[in-house]
Symmetry: C2
């Protein structure tokens, strides 16, 4: 909630409840108009906007450009422990700099319903809006932000956002499809996937793309080859070790992040396998470091910086009373083939005498 | 300069010039008191502080705790193109979060004297202070910040800061010494160094540590083996290629950053050399990625997150009117030995007949 301390100097504003009463709608509806949401009936929107204008309410949706911006938005990240975050930040910062807007960076410190840092976030300083990156948002948190009357845009939301909150992501499904098709085209039949957390939207989309690619190639999905981690090196390492210990291990791994792929490299090395001769590895993200790995990593590029830019642009437009045409934007992913993928090691051909028309010849390693 | 827009709601303040005139000192002196600098005579400081209190001036050094903080500081980075920056940011954010202070992150977009983004920085939003990371600061820029009346702390300043501006860094000289001693102890005699930009303080200190280690071991510094780059992968790659093409190439390289070290790995690989069997490599920074490289990188750890924390703590204390006891703090570096360093490839022993007591036997490769 916006504080009304001595610094603000703003004329005292009617509460949303008062405007709601005057308009004959719920407070939630006023919030929606204020935040530029699209799920409000046009007539209602007009009535509320008129009242907001009458009361000179400085909310984003009033149909009038806000003249008293704080000039600040909040970028709230789930963590700063990955180069991933800095790519998003770079895009947000670049876009905001062009619009004279400062970016306040903070972290969600607690996965709980309402961590104090998060709770106070819009109250600690004047902020026009929030970009929330890969966070799980509870209904309570959303209510809180609505009541704070600030704009909100999500980047890569963990769970399905309310339909009216704008969000920016990448074409994760298409990325999973492209990575897996690339491996199949190289001749791989035992292709494993290591996703991020199983309950994250982006993970689900990537794994579904993987499944579809296999199914389209007539390869049955082996549940043993579908694993989940947390996007960090360690989980890529641990899951790869498990996969390589299977009786019929994969010849290729599609990892959920470039960092997981680096973990896979390490596990392969310790198992005495060479990448890509013995094991192909595909990453996800295309961090700047990829081309400097040994071997340079084939990966699915997410336009992270551009995602940050689009999120910032969407938020700034929202604050100008211009809600996005579509609440969800997905930027295209793009497979970057480098040196970590190759045809699988030659399989021992099945004995010529064996008449069984097995579509999956056993592969010895 | 702090703007006095309608939002601020503050009583109009006397200019520094007025206070200076009343105190019978220069504006610069008032700025110094305001910013908690230590190079002001105690009697002068008291006189100025009294006037600042009388005028209820909200500057940091007034001897009174500021009651009207914006609750924001600016973290200004030279770039966001390295995982290095995110480590600093993590520390600054963590410390500030504990003090309910928001961190506005922005970049210096231009190396020019006064880039507009930088110029407007304290004016775009209310900010209590600035942490400036690895930037070159001109006298004009410093004046501007002084006039803005905000606190300033430097992290890893490029050039020598004014003695009264607090700065935080790492023991770069000791790091350079430890890295080079480690290589000498392994038996290396042809040790190269790739620094960052030659005019950066941290580079100079590291290269001096390198020189001292060699000299203490009785090894003459070969100028051919001292190269400079820009901390990025590319320069590590380019400089290593040049070094490996020398008639008498080094058997070990001390790189100026972990990213440069990754570039050195790549150059070694392309030259058909194995790390560490044919070429030892030491990095600098200890980014989280180091232990996931193949082979895991021996490197000099800079406590980057802690440097960020100390910078933030120093600034917040400065804003409370408590200037640091010493303007320059250097946090300890620490050599992390992993798998990228080993004894040099066995040198062909000099012919037994050669009687010259050469302290540098020629090493064939």
């Amino acid at each position: 909630m916006r504080t009304s301390d001595g610094d603000s100097g703003r004329p005292s504003r009617p509460t949303l409840a008062l405007i709601a009463a005057e308009a004959g709608v719920s407070t939630a509806t006023v919030s929606k108009v204020l935040n530029g949401r699209t799920d409000v009936a046009p007539a209602t929107r007009e009535r509320v906007e008129a009242l907001l204008r009458t009361h000179n309410y400085p909310g984003p949706g009033g149909g009038t450009r806000r003249t008293r911006r704080s000039g600040l938005i909040d970028l709230v990240l789930a963590g700063l422990d990955s180069p991933w975050a800095v790519e998003i930040l770079r895009g947000v910062e670049a876009e905001c700099a062009e619009h004279g807007t400062g970016v306040v960076v903070s972290l969600v410190r607690d996965d709980d319903a309402c961590p104090p840092s998060w709770q106070n976030l819009p109250a600690l300083h004047h902020s026009d809006g929030v970009i929330l990156v890969t966070s799980r948002m509870t209904a309570r948190q959303r209510d809180q932000l609505e009541r704070a009357g600030v704009g909100l845009v999500l980047v890569d939301p963990v769970n399905l956002p309310a339909a009216d909150i704008p969000s920016v992501g990448a074409t994760n499904w298409a990325g999973g499809l492209a990575a897996t098709e690339h491996l199949i085209e190289l001749g791989h039949r035992r292709v494993a996937v290591i996703g991020g957390p199983a309950d994250m939207l982006c993970t689900q989309a990537r794994v579904d793309g993987y499944r579809t690619a296999l199914e389209q190639a007539g390869i049955e999905v082996d549940r043993e080859l579908v694993r989940y981690g947390d996007f960090h090196h360690e989980s890529g390492f641990a899951r790869t070790r498990e996969l390589l210990e299977l009786p019929d291990p994969p010849t290729a791994i599609f990892a959920g992040s470039d960092q997981q792929a680096m973990g896979a490299y390490q596990a392969a090395r310790l198992a005495g396998l060479r990448v890509p001769d013995d094991l192909s590895v595909v990453g996800f993200d295309d961090l700047p470091t990829c081309e400097w790995l040994s071997p340079p990593l084939t990966t699915v590029r997410q336009p992270l910086e551009e995602m940050g830019r689009v999120a910032a642009r969407t938020l700034l437009q929202l604050l100008d009373g211009r809600p996005p045409l579509t609440p969800r934007v997905e930027l295209a992913t793009d497979l970057r083939v480098r040196a970590s993928t190759a045809p699988p090691p030659a399989a021992v051909p099945p004995p010529a005498a064996a008449p069984s028309a097995a579509s999956h010849p056993p592969e010895d390693r």
